[in-house]
């Protein structure tokens, strides 16, 4: 059965979209990751134009992050003040990101840009996850327990404009959260991701936030960043496809809940190793597409007189 996407202006098989949303939702529910970094490239693989893939993926993440943030919120695991500073940087970042996106689109390089950044991103995430999870698995087999530092004191603690973050038990400068938020905003607007996989480690290592508050706080700020990115794309690239977003949200929320159920059945590190392999496979496909001479070195774009 086909479904017509009014903004992408093409009809696609609805079952492909549903299974894509379901699969990405399942992985994100199982591993507690957003999944935007898989959603956008997979949408592009099935022939959705890159601008629609990015803008619609941001729209879909709004739903995923609201759903995830709520449970953290109920348990009091959101540092709202920190979220606000991240958000302040993030709003400016998404504005910059949209500007970059439009610049690259008019130069005809947006597709290549997305391929390169997604390749770098997915390749590094995949390798990091593979190394980390295999280490944990090896340590488990050797029955070794690894002690981790709880708090990192680094350059971020020596900057001015210090503010007390009671929820996170921190007294740090507001500059690092604003800068981190800014970069996440750029990534979100250009790539259609929430950016939690960069945000979460940054919050732990650069800001020294307690691990328990990190996921909730990152989800909290991702809601607003992706909502803002959706608005920016809707008003400047006109590429948010509500029908595609609706179909993806419907399937991904169900997939995510099934994924959560599965989490308890498997060990986290084994699941992460599995995801690492999937991520590397996607990275490999993108990399090969960049390096192999395309079947047709010419491509066409229809210019819409909208911008």
């Amino acid at each position: 059965m086909n479904i017509y996407l009014p903004i992408a202006e093409l009809s696609v098989n609805i079952f492909i979209i549903l299974s894509l949303g379901g699969a990405v939702g399942f992985l994100s529910g199982m591993l507690g990751l957003g999944g935007g970094f898989l959603m956008t490239p997979l949408l592009m693989f099935i022939g959705i134009p890159p601008n629609v893939a990015v803008a619609t993926s941001a729209n879909q993440i709004v739903a995923a992050s609201v759903s995830g943030a709520l449970s953290h919120w109920r348990q009091g695991l959101v540092d709202v003040k920190m979220g606000m500073y991240l958000l302040a940087g993030g709003l400016f970042g998404s504005y910059t990101g949209i500007w970059i996106f439009k610049l690259l689109t008019s130069a005809g390089q947006i597709e290549t840009f997305l391929s390169i950044v997604y390749f770098i991103l997915l390749f590094s995430i995949g390798i990091l996850m593979l190394v980390e999870s295999s280490q944990v698995i090896r340590d488990r087999i050797r029955k070794k327990t690894v002690k981790r530092k709880l708090h990192y004191h680094n350059w971020a603690h020596r900057l001015p404009f210090k503010v007390r973050f009671y929820a996170s038990n921190l007294y740090i400068s507001v500059i690092p959260p604003i800068i981190i938020g800014y970069f996440i905003g750029i990534l979100s607007a250009t790539m259609g991701i929430g950016g939690s996989f960069i945000l979460i480690p940054s919050m732990i290592y650069f800001l020294g936030m307690p691990t328990s508050k990190v996921i909730g706080t990152s989800l909290f700020q991702i809601i607003f960043i992706t909502a803002f990115v959706t608005l920016l794309h809707a008003t400047s690239t006109f590429a948010v496809d509500a029908v595609l977003a609706f179909t993806l949200i419907l399937s991904s929320v169900i997939g995510a809940q099934l994924g959560v159920l599965f989490t308890n059945k498997f060990r986290g590190e084994e699941l992460r190793a599995l995801l690492a392999i999937i991520v590397l496979a996607v990275a490999f496909k993108i990399g090969v597409d960049l390096l192999i001479q395309p079947a047709d070195i010419f491509s066409i774009t229809v210019i819409k007189e909208l911008y």
Partner: protein, 255 residues
């Protein structure tokens, strides 16, 4: 029904001319709704001439379908340190968003060229922004690349190299023109030409519309005309769906 009536009226009106055509079509509108996956446009007609005339004397029919004009950018990739990146670009203006040519027999390219039956007529080719592309061979490559890519999307086909239109009973002809799901929205023209002794005349022209209907059309109009409201609605809907799903599954788990 309406079309059959048109034919009858036309038959009456055409009395007196030695060779003419009458044409009908099954659609004057193609609507794109939720499960549009392309559609065939049936074009049919009859030679209005003495039925006793031999087939050759009645001439051949060429049907040309043109979609709304578009601006198309064609880009050529080049290898930079092993990476294939878009390099040079050419902009074609006023290119029909859909082009389809079909005929009752093989038609000589010269006849078509002489009568400006082609994707880009010489007037249109002045609308091409060649940019850095100066060599005639390169320009030819870009033009062909545009045709090839549109052909891959089923938006461009020239079938005048063989007889594609069925002739029934010596006097009647009909053909199906495949309109793909990637078809652009807008006004289309169907031109029918009659070719007798390599003399070509445009005999008939009519238009049809491709438009969106239903919720697809509402969504598209909202997104284009009121993008801020559309964006806010998209965000609200997503937020609401996220919230509802979280609540629903929380309650389910408690059961």
């Amino acid at each position: 029904m309406k079309n059959i009536l048109t034919i009858l009226i036309s038959l009456f009106l055409y009395q007196g001319s030695a060779n003419a055509l009458v044409i009908g079509s099954d659609l004057d509108e193609i609507t794109i709704g939720a499960n549009f996956s392309g559609q065939d446009l049936l074009v049919f007609g009859a030679f209005y001439s003495d039925p006793s005339l031999p087939r050759d004397a009645k001439g051949d029919v060429i049907i040309e379908v043109k979609g709304p004009p578009q601006t198309i950018q064609v880009r050529r990739k080049k290898s930079f340190f092993g990476f294939w990146l878009n390099n040079t670009e050419v902009t074609f203006k006023e290119v029909p968003g859909f082009y389809y040519l079909t005929s009752t027999a093989e038609i000589n390219d010269e006849v078509l060229a002489k009568n400006n039956i082609t994707l880009l007529t010489p007037q249109d080719t002045q609308e091409i922004e060649w940019g850095k592309i100066r060599m005639p061979k390169d320009r030819h490559d870009f033009l062909n690349a545009m045709k090839r890519n549109k052909n891959n999307l089923d938006l461009f086909a020239i079938n005048s190299d063989s007889a594609q239109i069925d002739i029934l009973d010596g006097n009647l002809f009909k053909t199906n023109i495949p309109i793909p799901n990637t078809v652009p929205i807008g006004n289309y023209t169907v031109s029918v030409y009659l070719l007798i002794n390599s003399e070509l005349k445009k005999d008939y022209e009519y238009g049809f519309k491709v438009k969106r209907i239903g919720i697809e059309s509402m969504i598209h109009n909202l997104a284009i005309n009121f993008p801020l409201i559309y964006g806010l609605l998209a965000v609200l809907l997503a937020g609401l769906m996220g919230w509802i799903s979280a609540e629903m599954f929380r309650r389910l788990r408690k059961l």
